[in-house]
Symmetry: C2
Amino acid sequence: MKPKMKLPDYYRTQLTPKAEIYRRISAFQAALAKDHLEAALIHQDVDLFYLSGTMQQAFLFVPVQGEPLLLVKKDIARALAESPLGQIKSLPTIGQLGETILHYGHQIPPRLGLEMDSLPISTYNFLKEKLRWREDHDISVRLRKIRAIKSDFELTQMRKSGDIGRRLYQTLPKILKPGLTEMEVAGRLIQKAVSWEDMNLLRSRSFNSAAFSWHVISGESGSFQSRNDAPFAGLGQSPAFPMGASQKPIRTNEPILVDFGTCFNGYQTDQTRMFSLGKPNKAYLKAYQALQEIEAHLLDHLHPGTSAESLYRLAMKDAQKLGYQDSFLGPKGQKVKYVAHGLGLEIDEFPFLALGHDYPLQEGMTLALELKIVLEKAAIGFENTVVIRKEGVEKLTTVDETFMII
Amino acid sequence: MKPKMKLPDYYRTQLTPKAEIYRRISAFQAALAKDHLEAALIHQDVDLFYLSGTMQQAFLFVPVQGEPLLLVKKDIARALAESPLGQIKSLPTIGQLGETILHYGHQIPPRLGLEMDSLPISTYNFLKEKLRWREDHDISVRLRKIRAIKSDFELTQMRKSGDIGRRLYQTLPKILKPGLTEMEVAGRLIQKAVSWEDMNLLRSRSFNSAAFSWHVISGESGSFQSRNDAPFAGLGQSPAFPMGASQKPIRTNEPILVDFGTCFNGYQTDQTRMFSLGKPNKAYLKAYQALQEIEAHLLDHLHPGTSAESLYRLAMKDAQKLGYQDSFLGPKGQKVKYVAHGLGLEIDEFPFLALGHDYPLQEGMTLALELKIVLEKAAIGFENTVVIRKEGVEKLTTVDETFMII
């Protein structure tokens, strides 16, 4: 075995602590037991990182009891330097996965837990031919529900991400100038963010979905719909990425929505604030105020034990009372069916405050409250990332909350 | 049906022309006929964009003959504005996909072509339950081989992408300063690039792989290996993205490798150049010169009809002659098995100049020649994107090729 790779201090301080990794493994093993599974095989990169602390090309074989086995195709030295797991071994080729698992004393059980929401069919078929399990069982929801509840370590990463956001939004009054395109504003934000350790990367789990930070949406750009499951999309740079910031120049007196997600050490926070160069139409200020009222009401009810779905209904009812039933969460006939999504290592985590999500919220769950109103000629947004705690909700995003008129 | 969405001029000029889309459809239908398939169902977003001109949430049903049917879940107005196809219809829910295909006069054939390399198992299982085909056939390689050969329209997009790169690298002598971190340099490059219509997005097809533009790798950062199938990885910002630019400050007299991929209208070009602040060790200049010689020899042989694999062997032989057998394409025991990869809408397209790729090169194929030497304390790289033409190779990246000592 090679000597461990030497990692610099700033990098090592971001490694997931050993106790944390084993707590996650135990929670996952308890979930396997509930599903009467003897083992699961983890391969999707974010799940693998969550359970092992490293994101190398690897497979993690997790028996329902005892030490998991991390088999690393590339790079073994880096995996050894990053993961606190006790059993980290080299995998010469993926074709040898089955025999390598056997070699280290495990059996392939007849029923195997897999990430059925993520593994491509051809990978699945290849693995099945090699490992010859009889029945597979999707463990992705179980694992995602474990991941939904954040530890203190995770919340620390998210607070740091929120702090990048706070610094970033403070620079916006200096950045925004009439005539700059939305994408030019986005580029300046990215440049600032990465200089403060932002990762310039948001991850989303769903197939065919791309998470990205640069929603700078001004005036009528806010009325464009597109492929994403969002109240509005923006126009985007081209049909090859039809959403987000565009080449439209920003103008005076129009609402400018900035929905810039930040990411520290893999952990994301998401926030939206409104700006304008000169006074905007009062209707936009009023809509923003309505979103702030809806958030305040939601925060009052974000307790452990509350049904996720009930809070979606609460927000919809508030929007109706405030006169925004035709514009809240999208225009009529095109509304999204959620008012908040979980987030952390991915942007589409549990829980969802959404129709069909009738489960109780729990302490440690993190949520982006995606409050958006789509008017005929602009989109108005207000968004914070919060964590549910027994003693009350904590905002992980701490950007000033006024509609900033510059 | 709603009125078409009104798109601004800069966006409309980027739409794929109708004749081009139907030429692609015809080529794909010919491939289906070769595989004795009556139809294929396309869902992966890049394939869908290639064959329809839009990247909305949709399925494209392609019969072996006649007009294909684009069924759009979201957003139908945008799809109508972007795609020149003749049959674009609304899909109320994915569960109704089968009946909607029937409704528009098609049959689900017993053997259906699918993108088996991309579709997640759960999506596949869901579709199979609804569409009830008997046998599936992977059409992804056939389609990727069609996509490997670029049209004039595509080459125009790639030349524009290359031109963003040319402008970008010209700014580097002004950007690079001792003490700036690799990631700070990367951030400034991103900011410049997007202001010139770069999309801040590179796509890769493979599962668990993330393409990104910001390889700014200085000095010993070049010795770090990681998960990616590359001669070196860089350290990265954190274990949650263990590659690319890091928080290491750049120093005088060390080699600085900048491998920044650009993207215009979805089409990527890739290039690598070397810089240093003050004179670097002569060994680095010598290694760079060796890579330039290897490229020159490759360019002489990049003709239609040449075997892809043979050029990998040619480069390996040249590296040996020049004394770099232990460092070319990675350190001993960790070498990658390709010297070039195709690229366009994705960074991992056909062809590959690689072991096991014994097929003839064709006119219109585009390649990134990934020439890298990994020494003990630094990585040296030289890379251009080229297109194979009967009359000779054309470089799509036009950045000055000297090792820039600032």
